[in-house]
């Protein structure tokens, strides 16, 4: 690597470290970092002491664990590669606008710049690998082997994706590029046939079929590069680790060489990709979505509904959802639909406590963090909202309505999936769940937005080691969970009291319970209105 670039890399790493330490200097930063550390300690302790994960899955023995890794890890990595091929504009080596301005005009070869970027990535991956090592289950082997395996695998994933993307860019317009979509359609058809086959054959699941493919001759040949990395994870001795580690390093070096060669042929495309990614990150910093539309022009919708002032706000979020998060909504609906069949296949039906816990984390943490069609994505536009001649409660309601609707549809997908795949979930149960899911979703997002406006913060972590952000996310989630559980408990208590004291049917008691939960949701909107009015738009004193 060029000495100047090496120096820059060291300076940037030092700057990142200094930034983290500065976070610790503030009371809030220290508290959130401690909270994050506490959660990590809890995960490590729970792994080490009981041999079971926090969600209650029974621990597999070393042999069974190794078998699972040898079977499914290469398949997962293949899936990731195929996904990269499908997306075509996957991650290559991303240079920020600052790097383009300073480094592209400097006396550096492209090769040096790629190696510089690779070095920065390896430094970040080393941190991620250290984190994985800390929380890895005990049966996964020594800390050193987990760290080396994670590091080399993550480097491989990045390089592999970069080489696939760059190959795609280099082949753009060629005859080979034309077979991409027919090939993807063929693979999709094979996957659909496999699903239908397992559906029709009760004693054969999707995982059995995937396992058969993995251990077949064709499967082994196709998956050879990925099997190397699975072998790294299950290496039983230092010599095995050294052998597979050496092969992995050779594969990664070959991929890095391929990336450097391909980069020379795709410089223009690479610059366009960098500009696109930089724009996306800029939008994220302003509260937008990474998945924002890449189009320049769209057909304008001529009029917005008024609805007493609630209409334009909701309309703005509808457009946001359709143009910003449409693909994401589909991804989440797909995930929601697969929760019941996957949990069944894993032998943990949705009525099991730990599966319910995972569903709750999905609905109340993962979904709100990624799907943002409310105030949280509009913090930088609060100046606009505050100058509108619309009552604050209407603005708040307008902000919530689309987010709640989309999240509710995803919740309904989970319920429908459970209804189809779970014998114990009857139509009556599904209807009750669907009825309660609406006020619950409303409550979740009212609380989420209120917390966000009272303690506004960026929606994405600033780098891999933003412990303050991670800690805050966890603390927020716990606080929100407490609030939501109190609301649900109050709702349940009202239903129970109505049933006991007024001697009514369960339907009436359920209705009382539902009304209570809805009322709590509306009270949360009052809190949101307070937070909106109190929100201080960047109080510059110019």
């Amino acid at each position: 690597m060029d000495p100047a670039l090496r120096q820059l890399l060291i300076l940037r790493l030092r700057g990142g470290l200094r930034q983290r330490l500065l976070q610790l200097a503030s009371v809030r930063g220290l508290l959130f970092s401690l909270a994050f550390g506490g959660i990590i300690w809890f995960l490590i302790a729970s792994n080490g002491s009981s041999g079971a994960s926090v969600f209650g899955f029974s621990a597999l023995d070393r042999q069974a664990f190794s078998d699972q890794i040898m079977t499914f890890m290469p398949l997962s990595m293949l899936g990731l590669s195929l996904l990269t091929v499908m997306m075509t504009t996957g991650p290559t080596f991303h240079f920020s606008p600052n790097e383009i301005n300073f480094l592209f005009t400097g006396p550096f070869r492209r090769r040096d710049l790629i190696i510089y970027k690779f070095g920065a990535y390896v430094a970040g991956v080393a941190l991620t690998s250290a984190f994985i090592t800390l929380i890895a289950p005990p049966q996964s082997g020594s800390a050193l082997s987990v760290f080396i395996a994670s590091l080399l695998t993550l480097v491989f994933v990045q390089l592999n994706s970069a080489v696939i993307s760059m190959t795609g860019h280099a082949l753009d317009g060629s005859r080979l590029a034309k077979i991409k979509w027919p090939a993807i359609a063929l693979l999709g058809t094979i996957a659909a046939v496999a699903v239908v086959y397992t559906w029709a054959t009760p004693d054969r699941g999707v995982f059995d079929l995937a396992s058969d493919f993995r251990h077949s001759l064709i499967g082994t040949i196709i998956l050879i590069p990925y099997i190397v990395f699975a072998e790294l994870f299950v290496a039983a001795s230092v010599s095995q680790l050294a052998l597979w580690g050496l092969i992995a390093v050779i594969i990664n070096a070959a991929l890095l060489r391929a990336a450097i060669v391909l980069d020379e042929r795709t410089t223009d495309r690479s610059l366009a990709e960098n500009a696109r990614l930089s724009n996306r990150w800029e939008r994220i910093k302003q509260g937008g979505s990474f998945f924002a539309t890449e189009r320049t022009e769209v057909r304008s919708i001529r009029r917005a509904p008024i609805l007493g002032g609630l209409g334009p706000i909701a309309w703005r979020q509808v457009l946001n959802a359709l143009r910003n998060s449409f693909k994401l909504i589909f991804v989440f609906m797909g995930l929601a639909a697969s929760i019941a069949p996957v949990s069944m296949a894993l032998g943990a039906p949705v009525r099991e406590p730990h599966t319910l816990m995972i569903i709750y984390v999905f609905v109340a943490f993962i979904l709100p963090r990624n799907l943002v069609c409310d105030f949280r994505g509009d913090v930088s536009r609060m100046e606009t909202y505050k100058t509108l001649p619309i009552a604050p409660w209407r603005i708040c309601a307008g902000q919530l309505v689309v987010q709640v609707f989309v999240a509710y549809v995803i919740a309904l997908t989970i319920i429908a999936s459970a209804l189809v795949f779970e014998d114990k979930v009857t139509t009556e149960v599904a209807l009750v769940l669907a009825a309660f899911a609406l006020p619950l979703t409303f409550l979740i997002y009212a609380v989420e937005n209120t917390v966000h406006l009272l303690f506004p913060i960026k929606l994405v972590a600033m780098g891999r080691a933003d412990f303050e952000f991670l800690g805050r996310s966890i603390v927020e989630f716990i606080a929100k969970t407490i609030f939501i559980f109190v609301g649900m408990a109050a709702s349940g208590a009202v239903g129970l009291l109505t049933f006991k004291m007024m001697a009514v049917t369960w339907t009436v008691a359920g209705l009382a319970s539902w009304l209570t939960l809805t009322l709590i949701g509306f009270l949360a909107v009052v809190g949101l209105q307070y937070a909106f009015q109190r929100f201080a738009v960047a109080e510059t004193i110019d």
Binding site: A292, I306, D542
Partner: protein, 254 residues
């Protein structure tokens, strides 16, 4: 149209604006002048209801911005220095959004005219995040003009505009004032004030140092060949204040 009486704003013990009183009548254009931290943006943001005042009364078209914020805002157009538009909406959809927010039933004709006057007609279906800084500024101004507000507040209106854009905006401001709007402009560009403003207020350290018509201010200093008259007024006020502050500090230290 705009009446500000004894307005003060404090931030955590720091006084950003102190006991400010002024009024702007229909057709008048008031230029807010002052160094960074003088309290210009705070005054504008308080007037349009973004931040609450610590003390005093602020009336927009006869409506108190604290007591009757909806009515006050319905008569007001605000163009911030860095307009943050909705990145998933087109130029036209911003106008449609504004029309719905201000409850305008028939806005299409006015919207078309505004697009034409700001040379945005060909950008009507463009998503705003693809526009240049200057074009985004024009979109923000078109949105602020759509409901024909009686009061218009500009915070650095010419940032990012090309020469044609600057001329167009200046003309639009003049036209709005002639149509009876009361306008306040905050800027560091003294030439903008000389071209447009009927009144000038010089703010420094949150206090009003000079308020009057442009003619009154210019008559205080004679025109010179090398520097603009307003520039002399500005520096004479702000530098005199700085010297006074330094002298006071030295005396205290002694």
């Amino acid at each position: 149209m705009i009446t500000v009486t004894n307005f003060s704003k404090q931030y955590k013990g720091f006084t950003a604006v102190k006991n400010l009183s002024f009024s702007v009548e229909p057709g008048q254009i008031l230029g807010l002048l002052g160094p960074n931290g003088a309290g210009k943006t705070t005054t504008l943001r308080t007037l349009c209801g973004i931040i609450p005042p610590s003390a005093g009364n602020l009336l927009v078209a006869g409506h108190d911005v604290v007591e009757a914020p909806i009515e006050a805002k319905a008569n007001l157009g605000y163009i911030p220095d860095d307009p943050r538009l909705f990145d998933t909406m087109t130029v036209w959809e911003h106008l449609a959004f504004t029309a719905a927010a201000y409850r305008l039933a028939d806005f299409e004709k006015d919207a078309e005219a505004l697009l034409a006057s700001f040379e945005l007609t060909h950008k009507r279906d463009t998503l705003v995040h693809n526009l240049s800084r200057g074009m985004r500024q024009k979109v923000a101004i078109a949105c602020a003009f759509l409901h024909d507000p009686k009061v218009i507040l500009f915070d650095e209106p010419l940032t990012g505009l090309d020469p044609q854009g600057i001329r167009g905006i200046q003309q639009a401001i003049r036209d709005r004032a002639q149509a009876g709007a009361a306008i306040i402009i905050s800027s560091h560009l003294l030439s903008l004030f000389e071209n447009l403003c009927t009144h000038i207020m010089v703010l420094n350290l949150g206090e009003c140092r000079r308020f009057g018509t442009m003619e009154d201010l210019l008559s205080e200093v004679g025109h010179t060949d090398s520097t603009s008259a307003l520039e002399e007024v500005y520096f004479s006020i702000t530098q005199a204040q700085e010297q006074t502050s330094e002298t006071a500090t030295e005396k205290t230290a002694a």
